[in-house]
């Protein structure tokens, strides 16, 4: 994938869609194309968190490894979603595993690169954070609703 194609993918990905062109340009400068085979880990708990993945195809399971049993799947995400936030905040360590449960194609944005550009250009940093925060907020709200266990029936008539 050449630089122009990469920029186009970054521009049109739902995570970053609608951002000003100069922000897209800066973000795309930190991007490269990646693929993961089914079963491959995008990242593992405890490893250095250094990448924001914009998923283009395939599905990824956010999971927790547990002794003597299969990993516990917390959530699945797919094309159009983004995965990986821990590169934003120290100590830059992944909190969960992310595993490709189908062949995955993604654009990987280097976290160190993004942080560097954000520190050098606060307007870029703010615009990027707004996009990322919106996604995190959406996931947090959905997770809170799941915690309510709404499908359990109230006792009644």
């Amino acid at each position: 994938m050449n630089v122009q194609d990469l920029k186009e993918v970054v521009r049109t990905h739902p995570m970053l869609a609608g951002l000003p062109e100069d922000v897209v340009e800066l973000a795309a400068g930190c991007a490269h194309n990646v693929v993961f085979a089914e079963g491959a880990l995008l990242f593992a708990e405890g490893d250095t968190a250094d990448t924001l993945y914009l998923l283009r195809r395939g599905r990824v399971a956010i999971e927790v490894h547990t002794p003597a049993q299969a990993p516990l799947v917390i959530e699945t995400v797919g094309a159009g979603d983004a995965v990986g936030w821990s590169w934003l905040i120290p100590p830059y360590r992944w909190r969960f595993d992310a595993r490709a449960i189908e062949p995955v194609g993604a654009v990987a944005l280097d976290g160190t690169c993004l942080r560097g550009k954000a520190e050098a250009d606060p307007a870029f940093g703010y615009a990027l954070l707004q996009q990322i925060t919106a996604v995190i907020l959406d996931r947090l709200q959905a997770t809170r609703v799941r915690l309510l266990d709404l499908y359990e029936a109230p006792r009644g008539a």
Binding site: V73, E75, T76, I101, A142, V145, R146, Y151, R155
Partner: protein, 268 residues
């Protein structure tokens, strides 16, 4: 309004606490129903409960109700064996209006909320024309899906079907997440699609909000509300929600006008 006697023909178990009863009147034809309506079912000697119809509108020989065991009346209904008799009053309330739908429709169901939508899905699958059907279903866990076999059949019949669970179980390879997580990849155009939504009310609020955020017009979103249905005749007032008596003005309502703020009203 006196209950009409219906004999249970079969009982189909979906989960440990959810069954579907197929029943036919002791005399005459089964009642004419519209998708989304409900009946008051009597477990004789125990009581009465409002239960949505889960069969399609074209059945003439029997009707089906899907019941969750949540109290004495529904426990008795769930325990009703084939050959035994229940009472049926109805049908009551508004319907999904699927007869007027000729475009794309997305059905979003949470848990047992799929039951009141099943008749609408069956009708939409059988219509002619180019309108597509999307069926998005959430459940607590993989073992909690109702009408699991129907979901596979609907997919084979041409509906786009996607399911998700809140909590995965060992061996589950499907989606894990709130049912709203299915909206973005389902493939429908929110600006040109109608939505039918049923499930826990909090879930319906979140789904409706997500659909609005994606550009669906409020008048194209329908939800199924319930309150304490007792008489079914708009007399007793127990099902009142603001200016609405849900046994008459619902359960199916459009997500516009008074409905969104009413759904946010804190009960005192």
């Amino acid at each position: 309004m006196t209950p009409v006697l219906y004999r249970v023909l079969s009982r189909r178990r979906h989960t440990v606490d959810v069954v579907t009863l197929r029943m036919a009147p002791l005399r005459g034809e089964a009642m004419t129903l519209r998708c989304g309506q409900f009946n008051m079912l009597t477990a004789f000697g125990v009581g009465e409960s409002a239960i949505s119809v889960s069969s399609g509108p074209d059945e003439r020989d029997w009707i089906e109700h899907t019941v969750r065991d949540v109290g004495p009346v529904t426990h008795a209904l769930c325990a009703t064996a084939p050959g035994e008799v229940v009472g049926v009053r109805g049908p009551f309330g508004t319907d999904w209006g699927v007869e007027e739908e000729d475009g794309d429709v997305v059905v979003v169901a949470g848990g047992i909320g799929l039951a009141p939508l099943r008749g609408a899905i069956l009708h939409l699958l059988g219509r002619s024309g180019d309108g597509r059907l999307f069926v998005l279903v959430g459940a607590r866990s993989p073992s909690q899906f109702v009408f699991a076999e129907d979901l596979r059949a609907w997919s084979a019949a041409g509906a786009h079907v996607a399911v998700t669970v809140d909590v995965a179980e060992p061996g589950w390879a499907g989606h894990v997440g709130l049912v709203t997580s299915l909206l973005g990849t389902a493939g429908f155009d929110p600006a040109a699609t109608s939505a039918l939504v049923c499930g826990p009310e909090v879930m319906m609020r979140f789904v409706a909000g997500a659909l609005l955020d994606r550009g669906m017009a409020p008048h194209r979103i329908k939800v199924s509300l319930e309150r304490n249905m007792q008489c079914g005749l708009a007399w007793c007032g127990h099902c009142q929600l603001g200016p609405l008596l849900l046994c008459r003005d619902g359960p199916v309502v459009t997500y516009d006008g008074v409905v969104p703020p009413l759904m946010l009203e804190r009960e005192r």
